[in-house]
Symmetry: C4
Subunit: 262 residues, 4 copies
């Protein structure tokens, strides 16, 4: 296998589907949100992507059966609206494979003439916040207009990058005249963040008009919150110690200060 391969198990008839993408990324925020959604809706997998740019491995299940790592398309219908979900084990491991795989995903989506592609991700901010905000970006001005009612934060990130599938599906999608919106929940960055995923999925549910049973995700978010509050406490203590040190000379050398800061 030298090329990324797309394998259709079936070709569903879908009308103006809304696409929701959540592949692994910062804090696994998008993946957790989409995997939760998958677990709560009756979805039908219909297309798989295999790529030599995913890690060269299989994953074992609890019976000892392996499956080749992949990305997968599912569909479901709610209140007459068709949805496509894009989930998966990994994103491409090299920068250029990100382009190849995003291109393959867009090839699949183009066939279904999607209404909007929503890509989900985390926005790494390097600190713990009580209530993570959800930022947004779109690949044309009309989308910003049409999303006004949802009070998404489109501004405030001038010059900022969106990396990986969540960015490329919008950027390359625009070249194919596919509408795309990226929703990003603030997250610390180094921690798997179910809390940001919860906030993100709640926002998405409103935007796309679906009901999602959030109970399991809320439990996970609770655990993340505890973890984050410990990190926050540490950060605060470090900050305090640093202030004390700088003010009162309680630490004897630069090296020690450095140790506090880290």
């Amino acid at each position: 296998m030298k090329e990324t391969q797309v394998i259709f198990n079936s070709k569903p008839e879908l009308k103006d589907p809304i696409v929701i993408e959540g592949l692994p990324g910062i804090g696994l925020v998008g993946k957790i949100a989409v995997d939760h959604l998958l677990s709560k809706k009756k979805t039908t997998p219909f297309c798989e992507i295999y790529s030599p740019y995913f890690p060269p491995q299989v994953i074992t299940d609890k019976k000892g059966i392996v499956h080749q790592v992949k990305n997968e398309f599912h569909h479901f219908n709610e209140n007459g609206q068709d949805f496509i979900i894009i989930a998966g084990d990994f994103q491409g491991m090299t920068p250029e494979s990100q382009y190849e795989i995003a291109g393959k995903i867009l090839d699949v989506l183009e066939e279904f003439k999607p209404k909007v592609i929503y890509t989900l991700g985390g926005l790494g901010i390097g600190k713990v916040v009580k209530r993570p905000a959800v930022f947004a970006a779109a690949n044309n001005a009309k989308l910003i207009e049409s999303h006004k009612e949802f009070k998404l934060k489109f501004t405030g990130r001038e010059g900022g990058g969106i990396f990986g599938a969540s960015g490329l599906l919008l950027g390359l999608g625009a070249l194919r005249e596919l509408d795309g919106v990226c929703l990003m929940a603030e997250t610390l960055g180094q921690v798997v963040d179910a809390k940001a995923a919860k906030v993100l999925l709640e926002k998405l549910s409103k935007v796309v008009g679906i009901e999602v049973d959030m109970r399991d995700l809320k439990k996970k978010a609770k655990k993340t919150e505890e973890e984050l509050s410990k990190i926050k406490q540490m950060q605060d203590e470090q900050e305090h110690a640093l202030q004390m040190a700088l003010a009162g000379g309680q630490v004897s050398s630069d090296e020690d200060v450095d140790r506090y800061i880290r």
Copy 2:
């Protein structure tokens, strides 16, 4: 040479062959097992794989003659059962080449309609064990059923990965409806481990129903065992020192404990 090349020296007629793969991997466990098997059976090499993703080098023999690094297919027959052995100097050096080469190997195997592909490898566990267990994984449920009699450990590795050829031949093989079973012997991880290779080959022999003269491999396993028991003793001493330190306060700081552990 920009592509992996498959060169057939001959096309043997083989009936439902059982395939045994052992390429370099963790602890060289699979390679040692298969190279030993090769040295004890009268096998015929019939196909070579050269790849730009192997290291760009030749290897010199004792006369000063070089050979290009490669993977190689051999066949032999025992008690009316045909076997194919896959051995080689290296695996592909980049993740994506792992996919390419596994694909080429499967292209070759598909022609012979193999009964089962057995892939051999080490399972790095980071510690020394007296009797390494042999874990297994399969690429469909029927295989687990049909291998019950051999008491292989199929469970206990949920979510675990199998990397390289041993994993991909199963994962990509499943997409071609080729049956595959991976056998993995526990190994420390950083040490060339002939002992794990011996345990693995003994298990494989029973599963595929062949007799293998194990004497030379037992000698090598003995040496590995001595090496491992030294490492084990060191590990135990470190563990003990750590326990003492934690209990009796003999070490003064985290840093020192850390030094013991390493």
Copy 3:
């Protein structure tokens, strides 16, 4: 997208255009010069290059609209002379992609039979100089002759390399019989250097015979100058300390001297 893509928005009729390239490189010198030129001339974008070898990302503008990272061709006319400007967010991230993208750029340029291709860049010299010199290189002897009047420094860099687009457009251009001249302004190397960009653009303006409003760039150059003069002061102090040390024996070993220099 597996290959670099060239998308023409229009095909302008241009007569013997002069090409000016300024993509990101050392100190962003070439990019700053060309971006400033773009901001001061009424230019028409007519061709875009997208590549899987640019970083896999989009960039957000102040409204929250994303654009896929790219290289872009613009044209303008001054005093009857046609010009093509090549600008962009990034260069290719891998060495081999540099060749691919330079090849694609040359494919585009060849269609317009350019008079000369001017490539702009910084020449990292690792120290701060009061008045950065502009070095030059050409891809044939006739160009050096025809540029004599502009007093460019063609000599003094024997064996020196020119890396990236600024080098390859000349080197690969020569194989297609396209004339090319590289202009390089001296720069520290680690600092974004608007001052070197200003010096470079002033020189280029004379060579290609255009007028450029330099006021905004002069302001930026002023800021760079302040930053550089701080760095210069630090360098001088280090130098002085070293001299003292070497003269008066205040440091005891080579290692210590080394510490001063770093």
Copy 4:
């Protein structure tokens, strides 16, 4: 340019040419030998190889004219024997490009039905020796036989690798039934080694029956020798200090010994 390109300037008629390859490698030994040979013979360049796997750069000459980095074929005749020399600025920068470029070189050579391909290189031994030995390897047994009279060291390197063009031209050449011999002069490894190059070229001259004016190379070898003898002295002192330390306890800790050894 996405692929390695071969450009013929002319197609000389050559009868059973002997090929001599010396591209950059350990200690630049092969390159120095072949570049010296090129400077002393009246050779005609007839073929160039450009590759996206060479560094993305041009090199400036003393006039300020750039040339694209490349590999180059030259030919000359001595005493009725045709010779092809392969020289160049770089080897391919990635492992797989080594295969691609070696394949392209063999494509060129195959057209001329070469008698033997001699590849030149250094053999890194990590220490300074008074008289570097010349080791050899061949890609078939007949060549070892036919080279007996030259007393080359074919044995003593069992399992040893030969990397890059010098290895692959033999290994991949054998698959095309092209005879190849590699000559390797012992060298320290980290130092540009004109002395090893001299020893190597002297040996090669005898083997292929040519006269080479060695004076310039001898001067360079002299300089290398001085440099190496300083390194040797340092190595000896370190060795001595270590012996003393181990014997008489003059150093107080492992760390200090370590410092001596490095």
